[in-house]
């Protein structure tokens, strides 16, 4: 199954980056789930939780205050304001959280 490249970036650092199977984000019109092959999307994020289902199992959750998400050729970039990452233990080697 195709994978998504996910980058979760804050103003001063890259919060998390890695491969994922599914990304669920609190978009402006309600939650949006993104899987590989999704049509290009640019959406404003509402305060809420971004859930990333990892390619190798496990998941990462990030509470965000706002921002936007862009999806383009299996690359998901979430630009977020205030962010707290949870479930880092299952994040795998690429996961990093300095909050």
């Amino acid at each position: 199954m195709a994978e998504l490249d996910v980058d979760l970036v804050a103003a001063d650092r890259t919060v998390w980056s890695g491969k994922a199977r599914l990304v669920v984000a609190p978009a402006a019109d309600g939650e949006v789930g993104v899987m590989a092959g999704h049509t290009p999307l640019l959406s404003v994020l509402k305060p809420g939780t971004i859930r990333i289902r990892l390619a190798e199992g496990g998941s990462v959750e990030a509470d965000v205050d706002g921002g936007f998400i862009s999806v383009d050729s299996n690359t998901v970039t979430a630009v977020v304001d205030g962010v707290v990452v949870r479930d880092v233990a299952a994040a795998g080697p690429a996961g990093s959280a300095r909050h």
């Binding site: 980058d7 970036v9 804050a10 103003a11 001063d12 650092r13 890259t14 978009a27 402006a28 019109d29 949006v32 049509t39 290009p40 999307l41 640019l42 959406s43 404003v44 706002g66 921002g67 936007f68 862009s70 383009d72 050729s73 970039t77 630009v79």
Partner: protein, 298 residues
């Protein structure tokens, strides 16, 4: 003559302690500069993401937004000056301020009236000393700026740009900061931040590459509304970071030169002190000899 020896000794001592201070400042700046450069690197993914998103919107929807349109209802313009909080950085703050003054003169010659927004204690005191009005000022943390600081500055400036003409609105925003090229070269630079020129940031499609058709949620305008203030904030944050790295590099270089100068001074004073001691001894001998001669003659 013994007096001049003592004076030289005292000068050597004070120069030595100054040298220690200079050396310490040089080392502190050197150790912080790596971190400052890392911070610039850390903020690039965010900047890249924002820029790409802005160009995506720009290529798919007409970019007509208050932040990108020229204002002609007021001739007030704002200049944001980014300087250092502390001195001991050579000409760093002075050259930023000089560049800002040149820009102000240029804008005033076009019939605009300039309003200054100032970051950094050195620039604040420059304007305060000359009794010139400053619209807003931010001090503290010029060598390690935070996103909160950038946000505070961006919020103030965006408010000023959005305000109606009779409530202190400004038509343009220029930023004067120091671009960090490398450890040896830092250039004072002027950029016009507002109104935004999105065109220059649009990444042209490569040969044979078709730009995807984006879905915008809730709408292209709403996305732009969320993007552009963020874009401005990132640009300002980036200016602050580059200025911080430049400040530290300038300080390191200035303090290195100061340390060398102190060493030169110490060497010169040591020579003079030795000369004075030699003169003292010579005088003492000649006094003894002449005294003995006088006794023998009598």
């Amino acid at each position: 003559m013994a007096g001049s020896q003592r004076v030289y000794k005292a000068r050597i001592k004070s120069t030595q302690s100054l040298k220690k201070i200079f050396r310490a400042m040089e080392l502190i700046a050197a150790s912080r500069i790596g971190k400052a450069r890392d911070r610039v690197t850390d903020s690039t993914p965010y900047t890249r993401a924002i820029t790409r998103a802005v160009s995506a919107v720009a290529t798919h929807a007409s970019v007509r937004h208050p932040l990108t349109t020229e204002r002609d209802d007021t001739n007030e313009v704002a200049i944001l000056v980014v300087a250092a909080d502390r001195g001991m950085a050579g000409a760093y703050s002075a050259s930023v301020i000089r560049e800002a003054e040149r820009l102000a003169t240029h804008l005033e010659s076009q019939g605009k009236s300039v309003r200054f927004y100032v970051s950094g204690r050195r620039a604040v005191s420059y304007f305060a000393f000359r009794g010139r009005d400053v619209a807003a000022q931010w001090t503290g943390g010029s060598d390690a700026p935070t996103t909160e600081q950038a946000e505070a500055i961006a919020t103030t400036l965006l408010e000023a740009f959005r305000a109606p003409a009779d409530q202190g609105g400004v038509a343009e925003l220029h930023v004067v900061y120091t671009q960090f090229v490398n450890m040896v070269t830092q250039n004072p630079r002027v950029i016009r931040l507002l109104p935004l020129e999105v065109v220059e940031d649009v990444v042209p499609a490569e040969e044979g590459e078709i730009l995807p058709v984006y879905d915008f949620a809730p709408s292209a305008d709403a996305v732009l509304d969320a993007l552009l203030p963020r874009y401005v904030r990132t640009r300002i944050y980036n200016c602050l970071l580059q200025s911080a790295a430049s400040e530290l590099a300038a300080r390191q270089r200035a303090m290195h030169t100061a340390t060398e100068n102190a060493e030169d001074l110490i060497r010169t004073y040591t020579r003079l002190a030795n000369q004075a001691r030699q003169a003292d001894i010579t005088q003492e001998i000649s006094e003894i000899v002449s005294g003995a001669d006088a006794l023998a003659a009598s």
